[in-house]
């Protein structure tokens, strides 16, 4: 799980082009949207593609992302339970 979280942080930084942020800057329970990392609705769409591309998880409705993308913690858990790509 820890490895997955680290991998996830690296991928998020890379995909969202978070230039000034390192893996150590993101805590597992930090809010990704709003006050935390400050991501927005376009980032949410990018994360949906990330789930699909890297983990084989397809979300049909962007609203589903709200629960899943709360934090690295929630995201990693969802991926661990639903991934079809290893």
């Amino acid at each position: 799980m820890e490895a997955l979280k680290k991998e996830l942080k690296e991928r998020i930084i890379n995909v969202l082009n978070l230039e000034d942020i390192t893996v150590d800057d993101i805590q597992d329970t930090d809010a990704l949207f709003g006050d935390g990392l400050g991501l927005d609705s376009i980032d949410a769409l990018e994360l949906i593609v990330l789930l699909d591309k890297e983990y084989g998880i397809k979300l049909a409705d962007p609203k589903q992302g709200k629960e899943i993308f709360q934090s690295i913690e929630t995201m990693a858990q969802y991926i661990a339970q639903n991934r079809t790509k290893l």
Binding site: N17, E19, I42, L45, E46, V49, K53
Partner: protein
């Protein structure tokens, strides 16, 4: 009727950041010319800039400079002209469609590829809810924007307008242009005065202007009139003469004519006709400084505005030997492959 003044200018070009036409040194134009990117950190928060296309960043920088110089805080319109928009992101998205066979595509490149993204993101950054327009009419895209602002300042209840022109270079688009001979190839001789090879020395840049009905201590020049058209109804000479006459001017009362010559042997004959009409007039050129792109003529307007305000005529702009005695009226002439024509008339304030 109200007047249209240029009160602030901002530019990102292939020359060093903060370049002035009165500087001694210029970077020589090559077959392909990338803009010198200034530091954007002070201007754009990382959270915003991380997704921005190069064209958006260049434009925000240039727009900010223009507004700051004019002390303009609340433009009543934002009007942008661009030939191809943020073409780098268009390429990125198209590449991804082809490579991934329409899978795993993300929205960022698509959003940045829409032509109006520059004007939109400037509005977002300035929180400007005013009139917002984007013109995409090839080589007179910028003059379309200038015309719109000119008409609104003259006739409508508006005082301050931000306009600009921007274009990007992108690698695959460049190679496509190479295939059809639109651009210079590596090693091609680049001669603006006697072009021997076909194609233009492609470049990129953003040039923005703060226009106002109010003359200030910083005013560069007045935009007196302009004409934007696809083709000549009459011959070139009578069209130009009629345009000047309408403004109580003549060939002899133009102090400097600024030509959009672009080192393309195929396009030179048009400018030659203009030269013949203005034989005695000091002729200036600028694309040896800016490189050539759809909205390079906005750089031409910047150059014209700078010489009219300073009343000095740098040697490096000289296309012929004539030296102006005074610089009160400047005519800019531009086109691309015998379409997208524009005449812009500037006067000293």
């Amino acid at each position: 009727m109200k007047n249209c003044y240029i009160n602030g200018i901002g530019s990102v070009s292939i020359q060093a950041t903060g370049f002035s036409i009165f500087d001694a040194e210029i970077t020589t134009v090559q077959n392909v010319n990338k803009a010198q990117q200034p530091s954007y950190k002070e201007l754009i928060a990382p959270a915003m800039s991380r997704r921005m296309a190069k064209g958006v960043k260049m434009s925000i920088y240039a727009a900010n400079k223009a507004l700051f110089e004019a002390k303009m805080v609340d433009p009543q319109a934002i009007i942008v002209g661009t030939g191809l928009g943020c073409i780098e992101d268009s390429e990125k998205f198209l590449d991804a469609i082809i490579e991934n066979e329409e899978q795993f595509l993300t929205p960022t490149a698509f959003i940045q590829s829409t032509h109006n993204t520059v004007a939109a993101q400037i509005a977002l950054l300035l929180q400007c809810k005013a009139y917002n327009f984007t013109y995409v009419n090839g080589a007179n895209s910028f003059e379309n924007a200038l015309f719109d602002a000119f008409m609104q300042l003259k006739h409508l209840d508006k005082e301050n307008i931000l306009i600009g022109g921007v274009d990007e270079i992108a690698p695959y688009t460049f190679s496509m242009f190479e295939m059809v001979g639109k651009v210079k190839r590596v090693g091609d001789n680049i001669n603006f005065k006697k072009p021997e090879t076909n194609g233009i020395p492609l470049a990129e840049g953003a040039n923005f202007f703060a226009l106002s009905v109010k003359k200030t201590a910083n005013t560069y020049a007045e935009v007196v009139d302009l004409l934007v058209f696809n083709d000549f109804k009459d011959d070139e000479t009578s069209t130009i003469k009629a345009f000047l006459e309408k403004n109580n001017l003549s060939v002899n009362t133009i102090d400097v004519i600024v030509l959009g010559v672009n080192a393309d042997a195929v396009q030179q004959p048009f400018y030659h006709k203009i030269q013949v009409l203005f034989t005695e007039t000091p002729q200036a050129y600028y694309q040896h400084i800016s490189g050539s792109y759809d909205t390079a003529s906005a750089f031409g307007l910047k150059v014209a505005a700078e010489i009219i305000r300073s009343q000095s005529y740098p040697e490096k702009l000289k296309y012929n030997e004539a030296q102006p005695e005074k610089i009160e009226n400047i005519l800019l002439v531009n086109q691309n492959n015998l379409t997208d024509f524009s005449f812009v008339l500037l006067s000293k304030c």
